[in-house]
């Protein structure tokens, strides 16, 4: 039997695919946006400082971009990808307008967000996003890959909230892999939700409602990274096997998590303290 038009697979009709890109360069002593391509739900806009910033507070010579959500989601089945290129010597501050709510789709299926980042020689990348909220019955895979040049600097924050107020989270996995000069520096994949056995136990997250971390890479720490510092029962700063530290925390909710992470950043002192 000849089929002129194969039936569209169930669910695909409602899927949203987005491919956005952002690039900066150093030009005349200041950083400028070289490329800015929004796509559907991933809306990129040049922006003003949103509030206190680590490292770049009040500096006018940096490129600032905000990521806003053009639609609800991602929803189950959606596939988002964002490519970021911080050109040699330039400074990019990437912020977000609001928290991202990850929801189940009408037809089920997993949603995916992939962020691919290159931080070139002498560049600085400040990624200061808002939390990701994993709603009940969501199924989301977040995948962030960063390659940073050995003489580049970076600070980034990631916060995940386990469900909206009073609800159990869906399945959520977030991978962050950082390579520096091509060598692995940090690679962690955090999972929670009904499919992640033991995640709500005392080895992983306990009864936390929020989990997050701040990763800071600075080449001046090659021989002398800030020492390990467990600064709260639920939070610690840990030097990585390289010129970098991770500040990790769990908390009951997003506000308490933000307080712990901010304290960890303040403890780093200048120039990182916001």
């Amino acid at each position: 039997m000849y089929v002129s038009s194969p039936p569209e697979p169930v669910g695909l009709a409602n899927r949203m695919t987005a491919r956005a890109a952002l690039a900066t360069e150093l030009s005349g002593g200041a950083s400028r946006i070289r490329a800015l391509r929004s796509d559907g739900p991933l809306v990129l806009r040049p922006s003003h400082p949103k509030g206190a910033e680590p490292l770049t507070h009040r500096r006018p010579d940096v490129a600032r971009v905000s990521l806003a959500a053009g639609t609800a989601g991602p929803l189950g089945g959606d596939d988002y990808a964002l490519s970021i290129h911080v050109g040699g010597g330039s400074t990019l501050v990437l912020q977000e307008v609001s928290a991202m709510l990850v929801l189940p789709g009408a037809t089920g299926g997993r949603s995916r967000t992939a962020v691919d980042i290159r931080v070139e020689s002498g560049a600085t990348f400040v990624w200061w996003p808002e939390p990701i909220i994993a709603a009940h019955r969501c199924d989301h895979e977040h995948d962030i890959r960063i390659e940073i040049a050995p003489d580049a600097r970076m600070i980034l924050r990631e916060e995940a909230i386990l469900g909206r107020h009073g609800e159990m989270p869906g399945d959520f996995a977030s991978r962050l892999r950082i390579t520096r000069g091509g060598l692995p520096l940090y690679d962690q994949r955090l999972r929670f939700g009904p499919g992640a056995e033991g995640a709500d136990g005392p080895a992983i997250l306990g009864d936390a409602g929020a989990v997050g971390s701040v990763i800071v890479v600075d080449p001046v720490w090659v021989d002398d990274a800030p020492p390990a510092l467990p600064f709260h029962r639920d939070a610690a700063r840990t030097p990585l096997a390289g010129p970098a530290v991770a500040i990790a925390a769990i908390a009951a909710d997003s506000l308490a998590l933000r307080r712990l992470l901010s304290r960890g950043v303040q403890d780093l002192g200048a120039p990182w303290a916001a």
């Binding site: 991978r175 892999r177 950082i178 060598l183 692995p184 520096l185 940090y186 690679d187 962690q188 994949r189 955090l190 999972r191 992640a196 056995e197 033991g198 995640a199 709500d200 136990g201 005392p202 080895a203 992983i204 997250l205 306990g206 989990v211 971390s213 390990a228 510092l229 467990p230 029962r233 639920d234 939070a235 610690a236 840990t238 030097p239 990585l240 096997a241 991770a246 990790a248 925390a249 769990i250």
Partner: protein, 227 residues
């Protein structure tokens, strides 16, 4: 490295908590979790062990399997690459140190028990899963065996520690281990499958509380176990 049949006895040797490799001094994060008040009863012990097996256990198993398959091919050229990948998966410097201390002790034990030139190529302080993988290969075992050995050894070690830091019935401790047997088999299979791929894709499950508790534990004056 050919073996007559099975290799099961060699696997039991490698996974035996009585192997003089220093594992008895560690609780695998269980004592730190008890100290922090996050484990108070047997249900908490079981949830801890499950979470640990699914995270640090799977990571260790995958790296043991990967090191085993390389050693079995007599190709130890990228073991330093494996070490770097494992370092990147352990944010806590205290846990990196523990892994390297246990690795050094396991290598010393195995090099004495069953000498092989591979042990001399492992560097001053190799990670424990890397040594376990090499030791498994030297004993004629495969990647899945290496994964199972380290899963079993670290899981039963942490469970045994529960009897020292909590008031528990030893039968209940072993009932947990019996319930976890299928899980360890599954994780060993996952680890061996991952080990067949590139090192950058080896599992990297996070366990934030284990990292935070380990850093607190190092600063605790009254403790029974080193970790």
């Amino acid at each position: 490295m050919a073996r007559a049949a099975g290799g099961s006895a060699a696997l039991l040797l490698l996974a035996d908590g009585r192997l003089p490799a220093g594992g008895y001094a560690h609780s695998g994060g269980l004592e730190p979790a008890v100290t922090a008040g996050r484990i108070t009863d047997m249900a908490g012990v079981e949830r801890f062990l499950i979470g640990r097996a699914e995270t640090a256990g799977l990571t260790a198993a995958a790296f043991a399997a990967a090191a085993c398959s390389r050693a079995a091919r007599d190709d130890l050229s990228d073991l330093s690459g494996l070490e770097a990948e494992l370092d990147a998966r352990i944010p806590s410097p205290e846990l990196r140190t523990v892994s390297r201390n246990l690795g050094r002790q396991l290598r010393r034990a195995m090099a004495g028990i069953h000498p092989h030139p591979h042990y001399a190529t492992l560097g001053a302080a190799p990670h424990q899963p890397i040594v376990m993988g090499v030791a498994a290969a030297v004993l004629g075992l495969g990647p899945r065996d290496a994964a199972l050995a380290i899963l079993h050894e670290t899981n039963s070690g942490a469970a045994a520690a529960a009897a020292k830091v909590l008031r528990v019935d030893p039968f209940e401790v072993h009932a947990i281990l019996a319930r976890m047997a299928d899980r360890l088999d599954r994780l060993a299979g996952e680890a061996a499958a991952a080990a067949a791929g590139p090192a950058c894709d080896l599992p990297a499950p996070a366990s934030p509380l284990a990292d935070i508790a380990a850093e607190h534990h190092r600063r605790t004056h009254v403790r029974l176990f080193a970790s």
